[in-house]
Subunit: 233 residues, 2 copies
């Protein structure tokens, strides 16, 4: 009997925004795996810290903060190989992933390497996107609106075109791109309709109109834009 | 002291996919409110049934299944008036909403009428969108991809244009539109890249390639499309 591979969405940051199912599976798991970033450790593990059994084996995947795909993929390759050994020995493995595992999540790199060989279950999580709308208490998308979700890493023209064809837009992974995006959105006349959020659902959450956003944004921050008038009355 | 208004995301359907925070707040709430549909009752209430206190006051908002905005808005108007009385009397009110309250959620209609007058908190939930990706164990969106979320109610040309400008697409609220969308996606050469899901996370979940989808789809079903090759290795 081989073990089951679980992809666990840990939600946006508040440990209470973890689903009951994710909490239970992680509490019961004999083996836990998670990516970590140099210097800041594993955000996903910090969210689940209270659920993890002191007896659990932990597999850390230290993802290097360098450009190019190869260095990170090398880490997921060796992480997946270690996870494979536990699964073959009959132990369940829970892989932690902030937000949702399949929404810009790193779990997909582990999943792609193991899903054909083992029973796999994915537990969806609350995305940072809806946590940011919650922080502002404003609808993200309504009725017959189209929503477009765009990484800030794309070029100006692509971002402009994609925002133009939807009623609502989310720009993810801001980081160092924030000043450029502020300028871009101002040129589109959208500053007044744009909201900024960093660290959604955490004690240091910052939710402001885009015009009042800080100069420097962390990677885990985003802009949400609603272009229509309030359509919900 | 007035009460607090809570918008509660109940997730896609499995009661275990409710967040710990939503479960706690609903367990403690003196007053619960929810929309219901004629004949089928309240899906959001059914998800939370085990959490609701037998002593809680319940406010049902029976949303009529007719076209036009006015009949439904009339129900939200009178529901909000009843909720207002409880908040003014100092009682907290938890409004249940399937999925996430601000992602095509009905909570926004209550929120718009009360947020200026009362302390309001929104508890985000797992959306059906990521639950559908989980059902197929396939990444919804990765790396620098753009995702577009489109209601099936839009016309063919609009849907075609919006799918064309993103790497990944979700078509929500299928219902009677499924045959039309199958034909449309076939014409775009996307049938082989399209997945169908109904009743995500429930015991009768149906997750199939679009080509094998049933002729009749429920309202709570969707198509997810990934246009690229697997980008996650």
């Amino acid at each position: 009997m081989t073990g089951t591979l679980y992809g666990i969405g840990t939600g946006p940051g508040d440990p209470e925004l973890v689903t009951r199912k994710a909490w239970r599976i992680v509490s019961e798991a004999q083996v836990i795996a998670y990516p970590s970033a140099e210097g800041t450790g594993s955000f996903a593990r910090s969210i689940m810290a209270e659920a993890i059994s002191p007896d659990a084996v932990e597999i850390e995947m230290p993802v290097p903060m360098v450009s190019g795909r190869a260095p990170a993929q090398s880490i997921y390759e060796s992480g997946a190989a270690t996870i494979r050994q536990h699964l073959e020995a009959g132990r369940d493995v829970a892989v932690l992933c902030e937000g949702d595992p399949l929404f810009y999540g790193s779990f997909m790199y582990v999943l792609a390497r193991l899903r054909d060989d083992f029973t796999t279950m994915v537990i969806p999580g609350v995305t940072s996107m809806t946590a940011c709308a919650s922080a502002h208490r404003q609808a993200l998308v309504a009725r017959n609106d189209t929503l477009v979700v765009i990484p800030a890493t794309l070029d100006d023209e692509t971002i402009r075109d994609r925002i133009a064809m939807a009623e609502a837009a989310v720009i993810m992974k801001l980081g160092r791109h924030l000043p450029r995006l502020k300028f871009l959105l101002d040129g589109m006349g959208l500053t007044g309709k744009a909201l900024f959020v960093s660290h959604a659902s955490l004690p240091h959450e910052n939710a402001t109109p885009l015009a009042e956003a800080p100069e420097e944004a962390p990677y885990f921050s985003m802009i949400i834009i609603y272009k229509g008038a309030d359509p919900w009355i």
